[in-house]
């Protein structure tokens, strides 16, 4: 363009075309008026600076975390200084709008993304720096002992945030600061801890909404990851904390469910027919899922277990009744599953989810509905009495104390001997069975007696046997006494006639010196 205008005779000063650095070469507008050589130098310098700034920030975050676990006081000091120190970096940071991050995901080859990648990548300088620092610190920080999945989750989290660019960095920083902050609050009660976490969710979500203009779907996605990361890190200290009586409740519920082992599917009016193989298969799966809940760390994963369990119950009901399950069918079925499964640490898990799950999920979502039903099931089991099973109080009492078992009501006819022996009323199936058992026991004891007799005779035989053998041996020895014949000892070489002709054996010669 510029050459063309020159040719048309419009006057362009020669100095305008030269490199702005004054090196004497011609410059180019595309290189901001610099010549190719000067431009490359300039560009490299700016870029280097940017990368260094990024690294500086990354190292800072690294140190922050390191310090956090090494000592709480040091960490606090650092986190106080952190907002001010990080301020200048916002200028250099890439300007990728948060709402477009999904678009950017597909566009990873741009320079900005690679910079961000370098910044987060575990194989970059950040990682090596981490190792050298670790070597230097005399007391290794707690985070180094973190289990494999904690590390995995941290890595996944960082991977996820990479795609978010600037908001990603911001989120990362906030989450770490929050975890540090939480580690200094271990003495607080469970409710206060819960409040801290919920406030953090709320603030972060608000911030993402307003500051980075995220759509509600993308914010939700980010919040899920944040929850996963934070709760995996905090799990040990906030699950069933010592400040609460969660553990006591767990034990109480466990014992309660054990005491209710006799409750049948009919008493709960559950519309599942376990005779159908598909149904019983679903029942088993549902039981497995609700038990599995305890093994998960993230509240959302726990919720997913409950949802899976519920889906299996729905399938079982659908197969039995051939219509969609209403809550009238579902809740009794869930109660039955919980009674069958006796899920470990049920109360702790419920409390944990209530306290630390992202509230939007718990309030309105499908997972929230199933969770609510599980809470209902737990509450029902706790309060369960004769009336709620349509039993008379006496019956309930007898079942609870183990004096009777409802299961045998169905199998009355199976005991033909009932009542015949000691004159008990044959109508009572339990006594009938007791009787039957007694009979069997007496039969067993008589058989055992005969067994003992046989064993004793066998023992006597065994003792007698070696004596008999001994006697027989002695008899034979007496009969055929051992006679030792004297024998002429013959030399080995006696038969060899040519011995004399052999040369004398060699004698060792001694050489002097």
């Amino acid at each position: 363009m510029s050459q063309r205008t020159e040719r048309r005779g419009i006057h362009v000063d020669q100095s305008d075309l030269l490199c702005k650095k004054g090196c004497g070469y011609y410059g180019n507008a595309a290189w901001q008026g610099l010549c190719s050589k000067c431009w490359r130098e300039e560009y490299q310098r700016v870029r280097q600076k940017q990368i260094q700034d990024d690294w500086a920030l990354a190292e800072k975050l690294q140190r922050e975390e390191e310090a956090a676990y090494a000592s709480v006081h040091g960490a606090q000091a650092l986190s106080h200084s952190q907002p001010a120190a990080s301020q200048p970096h916002t200028g250099h940071a890439s300007l990728g709008a948060f709402s477009k991050f999904e678009e950017k995901k597909t566009n990873e080859k741009t320079r900005k993304v690679t910079t961000v990648k370098k910044f987060f990548s575990p194989s970059s300088r950040t990682a090596s720096k981490k190792e050298t620092q670790e070597g230097k610190t005399p007391s290794p920080s707690i985070s180094r002992h973190a289990s494999f999945d904690t590390e995995q989750v941290s890595k996944d989290f960082v991977d996820f945030l990479k795609n978010l660019q600037k908001p990603g960095r911001e989120i990362h920083k906030q989450c770490r600061a929050f975890i540090v902050n939480m580690s200094s609050k271990k003495d607080l009660g469970a409710d206060e801890l819960s409040e801290c976490v919920q406030d953090f969710y709320q603030n972060l979500a608000d911030r993402l909404m307003s500051h980075f203009k995220g759509s509600s779907e993308s914010v939700e996605q980010v919040m899920d990851q944040v929850e996963k990361y934070i709760m995996t890190r905090l799990y040990k200290s906030v699950f069933c904390p010592e400040t609460t009586d969660d553990e006591k409740k767990d034990l109480a519920t466990q014992n309660r469910i054990r005491a209710l082992h006799w409750v049948t599917i009919e008493m709960l009016c559950v519309s599942m027919d376990e005779e159908i193989p598909e149904v019983s298969e679903n029942v088993v799966k549902a039981i497995t899922d609700v038990i599995e809940m305890d093994s998960k760390r993230v509240p959302r994963d726990k919720l997913a277990c409950i949802t899976r369990c519920s889906k299996h119950i729905f399938s079982a009901i659908r197969i039995t009744k051939n219509e969609p399950a209403s809550a009238d069918d579902f809740l009794p079925a869930l109660i039955y599953i919980v009674l069958k499964a006796n899920p470990p640490r049920l109360q702790s898990n419920i409390q944990y989810i209530t306290r630390f799950c992202n509230p939007s999920r718990l309030m309105t979502g499908e997972d929230g509905y199933y969770f609510t039903n599980l809470c209902c099931a737990a509450a029902f089991i706790e309060k369960l009495d004769a009336q709620s099973l349509n039993l008379s109080p006496e019956e309930f009492e007898r079942y609870m104390s183990g004096q009777a078992s409802p299961r045998l009501n169905n199998s009355e006819g199976e005991w033909p001997h009932s009542g015949s022996a000691v004159g008990v009323t044959p109508t009572n199936p339990v006594l009938a069975q007791l009787n039957h058992n007694l009979e069997m026991l007496s039969g067993l004891s008589s058989r055992q007696e005969s067994l003992m007799e046989a064993a004793q005779s066998l023992q006597a035989d065994l003792i007698a046997w070696p004596k008999n053998v001994q006697r027989e041996v002695n008899d034979i020895l007496e009969k055929y006494p051992l006679e030792i014949m004297s024998r002429t000892v013959s030399a080995i070489d006696a038969n060899n006639m040519d011995n004399d002709q052999l040369p004398p054996p060699l004698t060792p010669q001694v050489f002097a010196g």
Binding site: A325, S326, M363, F380
Partner: protein
């Protein structure tokens, strides 16, 4: 809870409301049929695709506002009555269903209403629904009695038939509009009385609330 009402976007135009509605009523009053008719438009159909009818969602667009409705069915058996509060915690609306041929089921509704008002106050929108109007010849609950009772407790009364698909669409639409009004009123209140827990970031939201007040008025007048 304040958060229960509307976890929505800031920005007045494209805000989404999320409402939780609980379905209460005795065993065979037709709660499930009602909600299946509404969400799937099917009645006693062998071809109902949904695996379950206890948690259903519906997306609506009411006067340009998006509404996500989550309908929570509850177990209606008497022995689960005590579990009610766990279900209806944080809900924005309640649909109390009775069978017009069954006087007892109406008594149950009265019990629920008392309980709900006691636990949740006036924040919850109540709908009392007399179902099975196709069986009007066997009616045991008089229209006047039901309607005057509903009025006395600040609830609205509807007559529906899941079998004939009558009155159901109106019931849910009306309920949604009322819940939106409640949510908006609550927001205005929050905006004026600036809650103590509000951080500086929440302050931004309060600014966002102002343009929202205008469409709120429009909605009220239209509804």
């Amino acid at each position: 809870m304040a958060a229960g009402g509307a976890g929505g976007n800031s920005g007045s135009g494209n805000r989404t409301y999320s409402f939780k509605v609980v379905l209460l009523g005795e065993g065979c009053v037709g709660k499930t049929s009602l909600v299946l008719r509404y969400c799937e438009n099917k009645f006693n159909d062998k071809h109902i695709t949904t695996l379950q009818a206890s948690f259903l969602t519906k997306k609506l667009n009411i006067t340009g506002k998006r509404v996500n409705l989550a309908i929570w069915d509850t177990a209606g058996q008497e022995r689960f009555h005590a579990l009610g509060p766990i279900y209806y915690r944080d809900s924005n609306g309640a649909i109390l269903v009775y069978d017009i041929t069954d006087e007892d089921s109406f008594q149950k509704v009265k019990n629920w209403v008392k309980e709900l008002r006691k636990m949740l106050g006036n924040e919850i929108c109540l709908c009392i629904v007399g179902n099975k109007i196709d069986l009007d010849k066997d009616r045991h609950v008089s229209v006047e009695e039901a309607e005057s009772y509903a009025e006395s407790v600040g609830a609205k009364h509807y007559h529906t038939s899941a079998k004939l698909n009558k009155g159901i669409e109106e019931l849910f639409l009306d309920l949604c509009k009322r819940m939106m009004e409640t949510a908006q009123a609550e927001e205005r209140l929050k905006g004026n009385g600036a809650s103590q827990s509000a951080s500086s970031r929440r302050g931004v939201q309060i600014v966002d609330d102002e343009p929202q007040a205008t469409p709120a008025g429009g909605c009220c007048s239209s509804g």
